[in-house]
Amino acid sequence: MRYVFKTSHDQDIDLLRHKQDWGWYAALAALLLALPLAIPAYHVSELAFVFVLAIGSVGLMLLTGFTGLISLGHAAFLLIGAYVEAHALRAGIPFPVSLALAGLAAGAIGILLGLPALRLSGLYLAIATLAFSAIVEHLFAHWKFLSAGEAFLSVPNPAIGGVRLGSGIGYYYVALAVLAGSILLSLNLLRAPLGRAFIALRDSPIAAVTLGVPLARTKATAFALSAAIGGLAGALYAHKISSLTADSFDVLLSLKLLMMVVVGGLGSIKGAVLGAVFLGLLDPAIAHAKDYLPPRIAGQSGLQLAVYGLILVFFVLFEPQGLAGRWAKIKAYFQGFPIYRRAMFKRTKAYMSSERMR
C-alpha cells in the first residue's frame, strides 16, 4: 500500500494526492490534445460527442451522485441550452458568450424546477423531473416563440480564430475545454463547503439542517449548477446535430445520462466521465455487433434499449459502485499486491440514499 505521509493541510486540500498523478494527467492531456491530428476526422467528431455527453454526465453527477436528488428529466436542460445557443447565435451574439448564456438560462430554469422539487425526493422527484422534461419538450416542439416556428431550427456555425466550430477539430477542442472546465469547477466545489453541504444533504438531510445547511437554498443551488452544466452540454450538442428538433432531447437521452452516472459510479466525478465514455462507446459497439448477430435479433428495434437495460441491471447487482468503484478496486489490487482481499471493499457496499430511491 502507498501511505501518504501528511505534513500539511494542503495535501488534503489539493486535487491530486500523489505527485506522480500530475504526470499521468499531463500525459492524458497531451494525448487528448494530440489525438485529433492522428486519427480520422470521423473518430474525432465521435470522440468530441463523448466529451459532450461527459459534460452532461458531470452535471447530473453533481445532482444525483453528490446531492442525492434523482433527475429523470435532465435532457430538458440540454434542450434549453441547445435552443438558447441556437437563438443567441442567430441573433448575432458571438460564440463563447452564447455558450455562457445557454448555461445561465438552463441554470435559471434549474432553480425554477428546484423550488417545487424541494419537498420531493427519491421516486417522487424522479417522476416530477420526468414530467418536467415532457413539458419542456412539448413547449419547444409546439410553441412558435421558442422554436421560431421551424420544425428544424438550424444552428449557425460560428468561427473562433478562423476555425469553424462545426468542423471536427474545432468542435473537438471546444468540447474538451468545456469538459475540462466543468470537471475542474465541480472538483473545486466538492472540496469546498458547498460541495460538502451537497454530500450532507444526500446522506442525512436532518443532520445537514442542524449543522446550518439551508435545505431549500442548497437544493436549489445543486439544481441550478447541475442544470447549467447540462445547458453547456446542450449548447455543444446543438452544434453536433446542427438542426435542432425537440425530439432529440427525449426521455431516452435523460435515461442515458442517468445510466452514465449509475454505470460510472454514483458519487465520483471520475465515474461520470467513465460512464460517458462507456456509453459513448456502447452505441457504436452495438451497431457493430449487429453485423454478427442473427438477423432476427439484429433487426429488433429495441435491441439497443435491451442492452442498456441488461448493463444497468448488471451494474446494480454486481458493481453498485460503478466503473469508478471497479477502478478503485483494481488500483488497490495492484498497489497492495499481494495483500488485496475481496473483503477490503465489503463494508462500503451500503447503498446511498440516491440509490435507495426512498
Binding site: A200, A207, V213
Partner: protein, 252 residues
Amino acid sequence: MSLLRVDDLSLWFGGVRAVDGVSFDVEPGEVFTIIGPNGAGKTTVINLLSRLLSPRAGRVSFDGQNLLSVPPHGVIGRGIARTFQNLELFEHATVMQNLLLGRHTHRATGFVSEMLFLPHVRAAERAHREKVEAVIDFLDLHRHRDSMVAGLPYGVRKNVELGRALASEPRLLLLDEPAAGLNPEETEDLAFWIEDMVADLGVTILMVEHDLALVNEVSDRVLVMNQGQAIARGTPAEVQRDPAVIEAYLGA
C-alpha cells in the same frame, strides 16, 4: 443570567401530550441532564430546542434572545449544536469531511469563489482544518481521520458525531443519549470528555441520558420527565430520592 430559558414548553401530537408545560433554565457552564422513562418526551425537548419541531405553546430564549424565531438551520449559528440518539452521520464521507461539516456554520466563502477555489477559499479551508484537527486531538480520532464513516464501529461513529457538533464551537451542546450503545470503557471516556468540554472548552451541556451512573458522575442538575411533564428537579442525589421519580420508574 441563564444561558437557556425554557418556559411552559408544550407540544402534542394528536391526543398525545409529548411535552406538556415543561419549564427549566440552564446556567452557563453546567451539565444539565434530563432523565425519564421511555416516551417521557426527552428527545422531543431536544428536537424542540434544535427547532426541528415547533412547539404549540411556550417560550424558549437562548442568551436572552427568542430562539423560536430562528429557522432550523440558524440554530447552530446561535451557538447550539446537537447529536442524535440514532446517529445521523454522513455515511459516504470521511470522518474528516463529517467534522468539516461541523464547521459549515462558519462558512464565509461564496459559491463562485469556491468553484474557482480562489486563494482565500484555500486559506479558509486551512483554518477550518486547523480547528477540526483540535477536535480530532480532543476526541482521539487520529486513526480514523481519513476513513469512510460507513465502515467504522459504533463507538467511533458516536465520537465522530460528538466531534462534528464540537467542531462548530458551540456554547450549548445538546446530547441525545450520548452513552447509548457504548461499552463501559467508552462511557468512561465520554464522562471525561464531558467534564473537559465544560472545563476547558467552556461548553454548556444539556443532555438526555439513561445511564444513571454517567448521570450521577457528570451532572450538576437533573430534570426528571414522565409522560411529557417535569416531575422532579435537583441534584442527581436529590431526584433519586424523590418519591414521584421512584414511582415513575418503578410504577410502585
